[in-house]
Symmetry: C2
């Protein structure tokens, strides 16, 4: 290739914004300087989140003495995880689930008093197209599994009934699959919404869920296999309970005695959410047009108001700050961020 | 929907592997238990990396009191970042670059003694199709920018010439774009490989690089904009220097006085890598068929052997462990992992 003698006029980029001067980055200076450069704005909560992201990311690399080759593997893993995501598959949520982050964030962000029903992780199978059902309807089409009748009661912790609340529930079939995992799904199945009566009660038919593996044909499944972890969840039924003025409850009930009760791949099980099924019996079978040998589950859900939930979250966040020698304050949302005086 | 009375036989999943029993996950127990479940294998380095990932991920959520809504934003950001990746675009590398992680990992993984040329981040524009050039060739097609002649010397720190080493260099054109950023690229341009002579010298023609913005039309660019950070890098020329028996040097030379010298968007600049261009002058212009007003850069690169590099890395890793009350040892690769006695 011949040398060019044509002079090209460089396009001048706009002048850089005023900001911290950074140069000569070393192990000792890169973290502080990255945080400085990330702090040239006034969204103090975002500033705090990014400060902590950078600090932990860098501390991770420093403490592990991370190699370039390991960094490359991590970049490829994250890329593959992103590529696996689609309208019906969220591989990053799955990653968060198996790393215990999802249930931790639920616990931090939605703390419950001891006398209310505890929450747990949402999981990736909730949809927004479930149909509203009448009392005693079945959310399942025929042949989905062993029939199960649920009689529920929704109250405040003191027993005050919560009427007209939406109980959104969903579960897998006897094959361990949700409706969304079947090709050509054209309508919701094994999911539905029922409203509570004036006395807070509701009644709905479904089928007995079974233990199943989380989707494990992607990067997250390969990781689990590599570290000798199984992908199974114990049998469970998901619930979202919603009513104006009350804190939305995302929870699930788990089968006591399930082989995976104490090794849930996504850490969702809590003792107070374990159920044991009874046989339905003659009387209820007759009343609801079922078989006496069908299954029966009775559950009492207790929810708290939005105000109580916010107050508890702020109180826990305040406790978390107390004692730590920090420059942090709680903002109007009750979340920690750097004090404006700093 | 009618209640089904058909009994379906559940498929029994395989029994769960023996492992730690986990249940009743709370803020206080989830981290320890996730690490336990991730530790049912004997790849101690991977075990250590995952332990630290989980610890830092959970500490981040706990310290920031992360909300479900913020977690959702993070999941979406990572998903978008993965979706942006393609054969010619690596958005996760870009994210690592702007968060200071790339230059940190290079610094940890490839430490250099003070008398050797320091390394810096690779960046996303290296390719593997650069052509091998002869001494004095130009790596640029016509009209790419103001011509620049580079005279280089490659030695060990004590001055011993390193002959027959591959000098792989690449840079942007006067528009601030690499060849790969133009549509329909059908051959490499502004990149090439030249071998050092017996005395360690090499000579190559290229063009003066200019400051440019990193690709900022994706999730990473949007993040930078949101936090008031500019995406520019100061003008620079990338180098990979490789020879059997020597530690591969990934580095770059930066234009001293560039408007972005002290605010490189990816933190790559180091003082010892700053260059100042001279005018080529009559004599060299005549010798290499160029114009006396063309640019001239002379640089002395100093590389170390693989053995020296490994020794230095292990020494630094050992220093990092010393004093910390840990159960860690350095493995055969010189990388920390838990002691098998634990």
């Amino acid at each position: 290739m011949p040398s060019s003698t044509k002079k090209t006029i460089s396009k001048e980029p706009p002048p850089p914004p005023k900001g911290p001067k950074i140069t000569e980055m070393t192990d000792d200076t890169i973290t502080k300087n990255t945080i400085l450069v990330n702090s040239q704005h006034t969204n103090m909560r975002l500033l705090f989140l990014l400060q902590k992201v950078v600090q932990h990311l860098h501390d991770f690399a420093i403490e592990t003495r991370l190699t370039t080759e390991e960094w490359e593997v991590a970049i490829q893993f994250l890329t593959d995880t992103g590529k696996m995501c689609s309208d019906i598959r969220q591989e990053f949520v799955l990653l968060s689930d198996v790393m215990g982050l999802s249930v931790l964030v639920d616990s931090i962000s939605h703390p419950k008093p001891p006398n209310a029903t505890i929450g747990t992780l949402l999981g990736p199978f909730h949809t927004h197209d479930a149909a509203e059902m009448h009392q005693g309807d079945s959310i399942c089409s025929d042949g989905r599994g062993e029939p199960l009748l649920i009689e529920g009661l929704l109250t405040e912790p003191d027993g005050t009934p919560v009427a007209d609340a939406a109980i959104d529930l969903w579960h897998c079939d006897a094959n361990g699959l949700y409706d969304t995992q079947y090709p050509n799904r054209d309508h919701p199945d094994m999911r539905g919404i029922v409203k509570t009566n004036n006395n807070g009660s509701f009644i709905i038919k479904c089928t007995r869920p079974v233990a199943y593996p989380i989707p494990h044909d992607g990067p997250v499944g390969k990781l689990l296999q590599k570290i000798n972890r199984h992908p199974y969840r114990p049998a469970h039924i998901h619930f979202i309970i919603e009513k104006e003025g009350y804190d939305r409850l995302i929870t699930a009930l788990y089968a006591k005695g399930d082989p995976y009760e104490t090794s849930d791949a996504v850490f969702g099980v809590k003792t107070s959410l374990l159920y044991t099924l009874d046989k339905l019996g003659t009387e209820k079978a007759k009343k609801y047009g079922m078989d006496p040998e069908d299954w029966y589950l009775k559950w009492h859900f207790k929810i708290i108001t939005k105000d109580e939930a916010k107050k508890l979250m702020v109180q826990k966040n305040q406790e978390a700050l107390t004692g730590a020698a920090t420059n942090l304050i709680l903002n109007a949302d009750g979340l920690p961020e750097p004090s404006p005086l700093d």
